[in-house]
């Protein structure tokens, strides 16, 4: 359990980091290291050089913009978990963070690192796909942005190119007043990898009708999936509506099968958790009093 030898460099700027990365096929970025270091220890990864981006000021910070919250890639999961801006404006991210690893791994692990790792059962990538976040990349040719849906290609595989580095994640903030989120996950142990994770966000009008809805599923497909339940918009989200919408949206999913959970099990649990997540989101949104919302 000792990593193979490597060089270690800590560039002073993001541009320098991208340049180093672009010029060296055997180099890997390291930030929190909570997934990469175990892979190094087991020698599943043997980079010749580690480029440490954790302390780059360009990658730090959480800021609210018009219609979005931008989270710097090296924001620690534990910091995001306690952040008031995220709690207020991206409640889905705040909800899932306690399920990401354990307190000691969240103290080092970063938001961008979890996204770059692209584990199909990971909660943070699930939130980016469900909400339709943008992954903002620093590249040798300047910044660019990719929709989360196009970023995740498969298990541990993303569309990121050579010399590119995740700079920040732009989470859209819904303009509605009565918003609620729901999240459920099934795993062998609390905080272990999710066999199935489902998350939902719902916005209601003053009469309790659905104005907008987003539903996402992790751990089932080979990457996080956003389910189309737009047929629920305009309804009062009663049990039959939700059941029909979830069944229709999840019918074509190609579920993974492994030692821990069969594809049939994952599909069955997915439907149940999707309905529960929608119910929880609706109840939470309905608990925001219509008159107090402005």
């Amino acid at each position: 359990m000792k990593p193979a030898p490597f060089d270690y460099v800590r560039p002073g700027s993001l541009a320098e980091a991208c340049e180093l990365l672009a010029g060296d096929e055997d180099a890997r970025l390291i930030a929190g290291g909570q997934t990469l270091v175990p892979m190094l220890a087991m020698r599943l990864a043997r980079p010749a050089r580690l480029i440490d981006i954790l302390r780059l000021p360009e990658l730090a910070g959480i800021r609210a913009e018009k219609g979005a919250v931008v989270v710097g890639a090296t924001t620690r999961q534990a910091v995001a978990e306690r952040d008031p801006t995220i709690a207020a404006h991206v409640p889905m991210l705040a909800r899932v963070l306690p399920w990401v690893g354990h307190p000691p791994t969240r103290n080092r692990g970063t938001i961008g690192g979890s996204i770059a790792n692209a584990d199909p059962s990971a909660e943070i990538p699930l939130v980016t796909v469900t909400l339709g976040a943008d992954i903002m990349l620093a590249t040798p040719d300047g910044p660019k942005s990719i929709a989360a849906d196009d970023f995740f290609m498969g298990p541990m595989t993303t569309s990121i190119g050579q010399g590119e580095c995740i700079g920040a994640i732009r989470f859209p903030v819904w303009p509605h007043k009565r918003i609620g989120v729901g999240f459920f996950e099934i795993s062998a142990r609390r905080s272990d990898f999710a066999f199935v994770a489902a998350t939902a966000q719902v916005a209601l009008d003053e009469e309790g009708r659905c104005l907008a809805v987003a539903l996402g599923l992790g751990g089932v497909g080979d990457r996080p999936l956003r389910l189309d339940v737009s047929s629920l918009v305009g309804t009062e989200l009663d049990a039959a509506d939700m059941k029909d919408a979830v069944h229709a949206a999840s019918s074509g999913i190609d579920a993974m099968s492994d030692l821990h959970a069969s594809a049939a099990y994952r599909r069955r649990v997915a439907v149940t958790l999707c309905i529960r997540a929608l119910e929880q989101a609706r109840a939470e949104a309905a608990a925001n009093p219509a008159e107090a919302a402005r």
Binding site: D52, T105, N107
Partner: protein, 173 residues
């Protein structure tokens, strides 16, 4: 590579390979053997140390990444040599350990929790030690130990006139 670390309040330096984990550096270069090498890939929590007061796994960090932080190991908790911290003592009192391999990590995780609040709920304690595996105790007595330490720290920090015992006496009169 040369690294400058701050460990238990003391500036230390060492010559290490980049691939040397903070755990191995603490144990081999500085003979701080209280951080235990368990799984060495981030699963068991036996190697827990505090970085700026928060528990992290020292096997998932290279020593070359650890400069500029305040690193606390189990050796840094006792107030003076030969004495125990309140939490260490509580683990002894409640039999919160058997073989002792997980204990430094458990105590450091509990220490970070009780630095934030001396009124944790049982769920808070369970969450705080959820990243630390114990194969002896079944966790029950570890949770009791943390609750016991929290009780003692609460009483120790309460002015006598406001202490719960005094209050109930006053009410009885």
């Amino acid at each position: 590579m040369k690294v400058e670390l701050r460990i238990n309040g003391v500036a230390r330096s060492a010559e290490v390979e980049p691939r040397k984990t903070l755990l191995d550096t603490l144990r081999e270069n500085f003979l701080l053997n209280g951080a235990h090498a368990g799984c060495e890939h981030g699963v068991c929590g036996a190697c827990t140390v505090l970085i700026d007061g928060e528990p992290v796994r020292s096997c998932l960090m290279f020593a070359v990444q650890a400069d500029g932080y305040e690193i606390t190991t189990i050796e840094g908790l006792a107030p003076v040599p030969g004495e125990l911290s309140v939490i260490q003592d509580a683990f002894c009192e409640t039999h919160g350990l058997q073989c002792g391999y997980c204990t430094p990590g458990m105590i450091l995780a509990a220490h970070a929790l009780l630095q934030r609040s001396v009124t944790p709920t049982r769920e808070d304690i369970v969450e705080a030690i959820s990243g630390n595996i114990c194969r002896c105790t079944g966790y029950g007595q570890i949770i009791e130990a943390v609750q016991f330490a929290a009780d003692r720290m609460r009483v120790a920090n309460t002015p006598r006139a406001n202490a719960p015992a005094d209050k109930s006496e006053a009410e009885a009169k």
